[in-house]
Amino acid sequence: MNRRELLEWVSRGLAAGVAALVGLPGISFFLGGTQQQSSAESQFSRLVKVKDLIPGRPTMVPVMGQKLDAWILSDRQAIGRVWLVREADGSLETGPAKQTVRALSSICPHMGCQVQLQSGGKNFVCPCHRASFGVGGQQLPDPKNGDRNIAPRDLDELECRLVCDDETGDNWVEIKYEKFRTGLDHRVAGV
């Protein structure tokens, strides 16, 4: 290596070093600066009394929790919504709990819009691309689309349990809120 080549390489090396000094933290900052957390995920949260749910009629209930959104911490925010469906015959005002309530995530498995109850309350429909689901969350054929449902899977059922409050004797619905990736034909936790 002659003197000229040496100087060339030193200049290149220094330039690369300077670029890396700014560039690497830049990239890591840009790619890494994403944080959102909410408290109610992965633990049971108490939603409503069983007796406040009308049998056979799905009810949308917000799941409240603490939410950290980048630099803002908000208390008692709706971190998600679930549809609770109490089975038509369950008469569970008080006393020992039997599993008669199902919880369905309101997030459409297609692209993530909020699934709504169709007028008449007999099934769910997503306002975005009209995927429809039965009250049990199962996909329904879409006649406008050659009987194919645009959603890739059924509505996501969430873990749900009934808990009897010792003091008042009321039965409460508690669910474990979770989000799943949309657009897939099977469930993958996370978004």
């Binding site: 840009f30 790619l31 600066g33 994403t34 944080q35 959102q36 108490r46 409503v48 009394k49 007796k51 406040d52 009308i54 009629r57 949308m60 409240m64 959104d69 980048a70 630099w71 803002i72 008692r76 709706a78 297609h110 692209m111 993530g112 819009c113 909020q114 709504q116 008449g120 309350g121 429909v125 306002p127 975005c128 691309h129 009209r130 406008k144 689309n145 194919r148 449902n149 645009i150 959603a151 890739p152 899977r153 989000k179 990736r181 949309t182 657009g183 897939l184 034909d185 996370g190 978004v191």
Partner: protein
């Protein structure tokens, strides 16, 4: 003066550059078909200028964005500028399409101008992303719903999808960082990228065009030799003036739209802007894991296919090449229009979608109307509609009451329960409503107790015994009594203001011959525990207590039919069905549903 200009030129060489640009000659001479390029460039410049001006006022924060955009619209100049910025973005997309098709038709992409073509094509997706990142910046329901779906589309791309989505949203969901990210893309990254590509694009255009220095003998008879300036430039400016004229007309007349502030509690059917409709339609034919074929693979394949054109199409002016190009142009245009049209037609035939859109238009109009009179607090514009009884009343009613009660009468959005099992609450507390209740025919009808367990109860029998037509008492006298009692109760409800003699007479009747106080309490007479309290009947505070706890001794006690306790637990507001704010809104609306519905 001259010496200064010379001094500058010596250093900058600007005369050379200018003459290189303005003395170009175009194939076949100046013509209208070439104006699309220049119009695009000037529109881009206008977008940058109007954008910069808007940046001076706009605030990219989830809580303030809508309010700041509304603030911009308050000054007529601001409204006009925002209008220009909005409509020009649409115009640019149209012009871009025209421009690409023109180049494709004439085969102007061939060597040595490949880079002109490729940079130009790369500019197209950038421009689209540019507008897409601009639409949600007002944090309107529509914009946020659109970017939510667009982000999810991005997220469903295999491998990198979830990562890119996180990058765009700045987290798992739309939040504070999302708007900053969009803003960064819209006013930071994309302008730099587009600027760079434009520079290469234009540099290549100039480098590869022949030019001719003007001389004294302007060859007006051979147009091929006319220079760009002023022969082409004048055409460019005429086209630009027409386009800007149209844009300003809309900007002046309508301004840019501002939809209702985004509220995660609202359902909304987002549709992409018109230029994405074809993809929206295409996507319906794929589902689940294959959807990215429609949203990513096909558009990318198109782009790459076009980019390859200069390398494939090397036969100069052969009829086959011309035919091929024409077929491609027609096929693209046709396919695009067809898919777009189907998508619009489908929506046009979908009554639910139409109803929802109409509803959303009303909501947006209501938000703007409220913003005129109501202050926007630090909680943001979202509160405008959240604090509005007219907007929230029907929603809350539908969510919590409609499973049993209807609310239908003239001049309100009709809310009819599918299986009503409790009174129709339209006009509760008004003279009309109470009169109907006291009517021996109507009390047991579906509008009142007909479907409750009180259908054959003491109250119904009492009213029927009191007012049913038994031939003994003149019906006009009975009606007068009913009217007086209704007025007296409406005074309790504060829906009837003045204390008329009728009201006094009614109060007497309630306490004496009406026999109400045998079961009900009314001021100082009667006992609680057998029937609801008539003191302050159907007033705000009465309704509030009733809805909170219908089984309270003041109301139905253990005779309560099926009505839930909406505010069961004062100590744990999060476990109640209704928050106290929601309860207030619902009651305000119940008592006043008729005033100017949105």
């Amino acid at each position: 003066m001259q010496s200064w200009v010379d001094w500058l030129d010596l250093r900058l060489d600007y005369r050379l550059i200018r003459s290189r640009i303005s003395n170009r000659i175009l194939p076949n001479g100046p013509g209208w078909v070439y104006t699309s390029a220049s119009c695009l460039l000037w529109l881009l410049v206008i977008q940058c200028i109007t954008g910069l001006l808007l940046m001076a006022t706009y605030c990219p924060s989830m809580t303030s964005a809508w309010a700041s955009v509304h603030f911009i619209d308050q000054s007529s100049a601001g409204r006009f500028l925002r209008g220009i910025h909005h409509y020009a973005s649409h115009a640019m997309i149209i012009l871009f399409g025209v421009h690409v098709l023109r180049v494709l038709c004439t085969g102007a992409y061939r060597a040595p101008r490949e880079l002109v073509w490729i940079t130009g094509l790369l500019l197209f997706p950038m421009m689209i992303v540019w507008t897409v990142t601009g639409n949600p910046l007002s944090v309107s329901q529509k914009g946020i719903a659109q970017i939510q779906v667009e982000g999810n589309i991005l997220g469903s791309t295999p491998v990198f999808g979830p990562f890119l989505r996180r990058l765009l949203f700045g987290g798992e969901d739309i939040g504070s960082l999302t708007l900053t990210r969009l803003y960064f893309l819209h006013v930071g990254l994309l302008p730099v990228l587009v600027g760079g590509l434009c520079f290469i694009h234009l540099q290549q255009v100039v480098k590869h065009s022949p030019f001719r220095l003007p001389d004294d003998t302007e060859p007006t008879s051979t147009p091929e030799l006319l220079t760009y300036w002023p022969y082409q430039s004048v055409r460019n400016m005429i086209s630009l003036a027409i386009i800007i004229g149209i844009i300003s007309f809309f900007a002046w007349k309508d301004g840019a739209p501002l939809y209702a502030p985004a509220d995660p509690n609202l359902a909304f059917s987002p549709r992409p802007e018109w230029y994405f409709r074809w993809l929206f339609e295409l996507r319906r034919h794929f589902s689940g894991n294959t959807e990215f074929i429609a949203t990513m693979v096909i558009p990318t394949a198109f782009l790459l296919g076009f980019m390859a054109a200069p390398f494939v199409d090397r036969i100069r002016s052969h009829w086959l090449a011309v035919a091929c190009r024409l077929v491609i142009v027609v096929a693209c245009l046709g396919g695009w229009s067809w898919l777009t049209m189907i998508s619009f037609l489908q929506d046009g035939q979908d009554p639910e979608y139409l109803a929802e859109t109409a509803e959303f238009e009303k909501l947006s109009a209501r938000a703007l109307e409220l913003a005129k009179t109501e202050p926007i607090t630090e909680k943001g514009a979202i509160e405008l509609l959240r604090r509005d009884p007219q907007t929230q009343g029907p929603r809350l009613f539908a969510r919590h009451c409609l499973s049993c009660h209807s609310h239908s009468g003239p001049k309100t959005p009709v809310l009819v329960a599918s299986e009503p099992s409790a009174p129709n609450l339209y006009g509760i507390g008004t003279v009309d409503w109470i009169t109907g209740f006291l009517d021996s025919e109507r009390i047991a009808s579906d509008d009142y107790f007909g479907r409750t367990k009180f259908r054959e109860g003491d109250m119904v029998q009492h009213i029927q015994g009191l007012f049913a037509d038994d031939g003994k008492e003149d019906s006009a006298v009975k009606n007068q009594k009913i009217h007086a009692m209704a007025i007296a109760l409406a005074v309790e409800a504060q829906t009837e203001g003045s204390d008329s003699p009728d009201a006094a007479k009614g109060r007497e009747l309630i306490k004496s011959s009406g026999g109400c106080t045998d079961c009900h309490r009314f001021h100082d007479q009667g006992e609680l525990g057998t029937a609801p309290d008539l003191t302050g009947y159907a007033s705000s505070s009465w309704l509030k207590q009733l809805i909170s706890k219908p089984s309270d001794t003041r109301f139905y006690g253990d005779r309560n039919d099926r009505m839930p306790e909406f505010v069961a637990d004062q100590g744990h507001p999060e476990l109640n069905l209704l928050s106290s704010q929601e309860l207030d809104l619902l009651i305000q609306w119940l008592r006043e549903p008729r005033t100017a519905m949105p």
